[in-house]
Symmetry: D2
Subunit: 353 residues, 4 copies
């Protein structure tokens, strides 16, 4: 009920803070017999890591070596919970020491204090971006399960600030340092990031995700619709402020005759406005959505804020922070998408007699 | 697990189809002692009803008289589940008879069949807009609970098709037939709806919601963030394709120095870009979001589709359908928002020693 | 979280009080395509009814006609929640009027008040035995689902007070008025009941249940063991105070060499001490357990108690009450067992790749 | 859904096997601000350890040093999940090597294989008694939370085989090597254990538990009754075959006039037959129950069984095993009881307006 569990059958529970001993995930409900490739898990963790293939990210080096504590025997899942631990190796909470008595604008410092009455000032604690390491670990296992059904999840960066790509190529992101969907836009995007850095500022971005191979029938009617659960999953990633499926907000300006996707005799559709979901259930088309990432709230520029006594003051946030988080969120979006789909794929096993 | 339950403490389970005996909601977890005003419940149901204060909606008359079956004694909740039943009185499934063997584009006919292997061709069954009656009934109880905390939820229509209001007044919607936030835009909006109707077409719209009075601290870190749960709740309403909080997609084009809301000494904020949520927890500011409603998929115009054997054919959907669903979705958005907040308000009781 | 939901996949939510409008169950997660025989449902309700084939039960006549509100189309489940409503037709709360200010010993009047701060004095409200009608309705659907797997659940009365049967025949209960497992013990049991009635007293009993046809593999390791969930399910029936599986308490006095059941080459076991469960998972043997039913707390004899102000006083409980509830609990035990097994049978679908 | 999560608000997820890297628990929902005494946690782990204050237990030495990975800052809970890891230090799976192709009678080897299609032959895996270490760790945190409400949980051994104590002193168990409630019975109990050991056999026992300080009002009506959840919790411990509350099975032979506990003006009761629970809700009296522990299934004596191919064969189980598990189950029963009560105490916060 405290919100660290997600999923019904493929149920992920995460724990850990940015500056404690470590963080991890326990996945209860991995079907027995799944081959768990530790090398794939390691690669996924590497993709999430600061500097793990992205430009513009913090220099903080984390090994992020995931240790599988349980649930695997002779290379395969046993049906027991699969627990993964990632030790924190770089816990310089001293970096944050001077922030202990001032609230960082745009951060969760203030709301966590109001909620819990406790201040863990060591760099964000549970609300730190580092929390996503546990999601990526669990997502890697979900991807392995989905691969058995031929499901392929890929995300990439559509835009950074006002620099938008002109084409979308889901093979491109892994081959460029910003995980851009249009590799030709990378120079302009890098320039935008560099400009922000010089101005001691940060910038937002938009990420797109496409899932291929989802069979028709996944997703539950009413509250646990495929798109509703994806929305929860993606909005639960810090810094994400919006999501849209298929044409999304553009559909609100469209007409029914243009927006309806006519089914064809081969099982495909004449158009793709719905983003692969009808009535909350996958229709066999690719599932497509976009999400908005806000600018990194930690900026070096001086900002107005209040201190622990509520007095107005100013703050300058030192340390090294990502200018734009969008590229680093890409693997997290894939992970959360994988967790939702893995869960719904198992739930579908119970839909019919 | 089949997705008809929502919420952890204030847990709503809905049932019912558009053309069966009736539909309803069971709310387990209403705290004992809450005054249940049946007149308020009736009024909320009336607001959702086709023609219940909105123009451009179907002429189908439904009494929608909610019957409280349990959980209330001498006008107050007892702590037992509060069950509400709404009988279907107008079940002319014959209207849909001719559709039994052709799939309506943009509808869930196809995906339900693929999921369950069963076709309930009586007008949408569980995926019908009528399903939202149960949500509104449960939402009315949630609103009563939230009123005890001073929380006030209001939604309205921002735009219909390309007609957008110029100002936002959350007192306006209940006083105009389109629930528009800008009453001055109503004539142009009505004209847009009329144009679509003439062209046997439909149109989408955007709905905005503002919640005032939410204290700082509601929402759970990680997966059950306030915005994540609202996203699930709102996307679980049929025809909603997108949601954004605060500046939403615009934040992706913004810079940190502009997007961060600085806290002030009086507990308020110097700006409102975040939409009242930081790190998934309410910050005491108004919670604000917008959602996109797709054009009604049922249009009278001839469309291409496939039949039960998968052969391509055409379809003309008779009967009377809303040209634009956005105005009717307004009370449903409020209801789902109320259910999320009622649940999180109770969950907050367990956050601290 | 308020405890009116049970099960993970086959999830039953019940509502209703003894003296309100009615009670019922919503089952979310019935697989689509299951034939729902309304006549079977009606018969199961009839078995639970006061006087429904049992002697020694109250004369209160209830029609208990279950109405299926949703989830069934053309005789089969659709995958949507299956809601069942049972109207209360005999709501003479006046019978209980004089009890409004005195707590009945052995009843939940006092604890409900302490819990909720609200007193529903109309005959037990949610803690009334009538609440089990919803369980039996849901259990009937569970039995239909289990019948597809060849699972057969039968319960009966082992003993009433000190009168114990000498043999166990699970075909006997439906053919005698006390649902006794040994029909030869019925005369002595009836005499015991009659003696208690004359003395304005009540008496307890023991019920046994045997489930045949459960394949090996049902039940989840750790917390949701088959026997653990059955224990919760059965102890959740009012008046049940104990449960034992297989040899139960006798196993505590036994030795390992005597208590271990050796598996045989044909998949059966050389003995049956375990009651069909090993490590919380069915072993393919019949699942067997016994439960203790306390004496009906409502007795006509004068008893000491306290009133609403906490002053000591006396109480005489009028009206007609079952002298021994054990026979009437038999169908409720079967229903709860069916709900647990239906749920675990569906959960087992997700255990393996 | 795979049964490694328990509780609604105070939600415990466990992981780990007897011969993997380690095991542990994640507790989501510990209220922020609770003082977490690591020394208390260590002491509770020590009580569970083989040889941790009990006679007749295996010689296997495990350090069982619990490491708190997250959720605690400056000695207090933060509201984030509290994860505890216990490394396995003694993983001599070779001991079990010869058992890899024969099923141990009375063990879960067979049922795990039937369920998951996977055989983890390293000494029981998830069904090993070692799994309870995670429960005890979580239970220690629950006890700390309950101590804030003045709740005190104590269990002890009533009988071993046919040797039963004559009096019950809940202060006695921690002062004798068998955790007996009657210290005078210890010599006879030790003799019974020694006799079994000589005969290469094992023996069962009965454990009793008393909880003092539970206020009236804990427990949820219907399915999540206090006794129902305790029954699930306790039966979920391996080797437990039965549970009874208050008079339990004796109540089935009793009469209402004898079994009803009359409330007194001071809030207490004239008798204690109910075991502190009425209608599934605590009545303010001490909560009391007893449970049956079966004889250790691992015995050195030659037994009949089948091998992996289903052929009948014999087996002799080497290694050192507890002759009687009852004394070692005592802290596990306390832990599970604490987890249930901690959860219900938090749930009670939402019962009233």
């Amino acid at each position: 009920m405290s919100g660290s569990c997600f999923g019904e059958v493929f149920r992920v529970t995460t724990f850990g803070e940015s500056h404690g001993a470590g963080l991890g995930a326990v996945i209860d409900g991995v079907p027995a017999g799944l081959e768990i490739d530790p090398e794939f898990l390691r690669r996924e963790m590497e993709r999430r890591r600061p500097g793990g293939g992205t430009a513009g990210s913090t220099a903080r080096r984390e090994a992020d070596a995931p240790e599988i504590l349980s649930g695997v025997f002779e290379g395969r899942s046993t049906g027991a919970p699969l627990a993964i631990l990632i030790r924190n190796t770089d816990q310089r909470s001293a970096d944050y020491g001077e922030l202990a008595d001032r609230f960082r604008p745009g951060h969760a410092d203030l709301t966590f204090l109001r909620k819990f009455g406790v201040r863990d000032w060591r760099g964000g604690g549970r609300s730190s971006g580092r929390e996503t390491a546990a999601r990526v670990a669990a997502g890697a296992v979900a991807k392995l399960l989905l691969a058995e059904s031929g499901v392929k999840i890929r995300a990439g960066v559509l835009s950074i600030g006002n620099v938008e790509g002109r084409r979308i190529d889901f093979d491109a992101p892994d081959a460029n340092p910003l995980r851009a969907l249009d590799p030709d836009a990378v120079p302009a995007m890098l320039a935008e990031i560099e400009a922000c850095r010089r101005e001691l500022d940060s910038v937002g971005g938009i990420v797109a995700c496409r899932v291929e191979g989802v069979p028709a029938g996944w997703g539950e009617p009413v509250f646990d619709k495929l798109d509703a659960l994806l929305a929860q999953a993606v909005l639960s990633i810090g810094a994400v402020k919006a999501i849209e499926f298929g044409d999304g907000f553009a559909a609100a300006r469209s007409r029914g005759s243009a927006n309806n996707d006519s089914p064809l005799s081969d099982g495909s559709f004449a158009s793709h406005h719905a983003g692969g979901v009808l009535g909350g259930i996958s229709n066999g088309d690719a599932v497509e959505f976009r999400l908005a990432v806000k600018p990194t709230p930690s900026i070096a520029r001086r900002q107005k804020t209040v201190d622990a006594e509520g007095r107005e003051c100013e703050i300058e946030i030192g340390g090294r922070h990502d200018v734009c988080i969008a590229p680093r969120i890409v693997p997290v979006v894939e992970a959360m998408t994988a967790i939702v789909l893995a869960d719904l794929s198992l739930r579908q096993r119970c839909a019919r007699l």
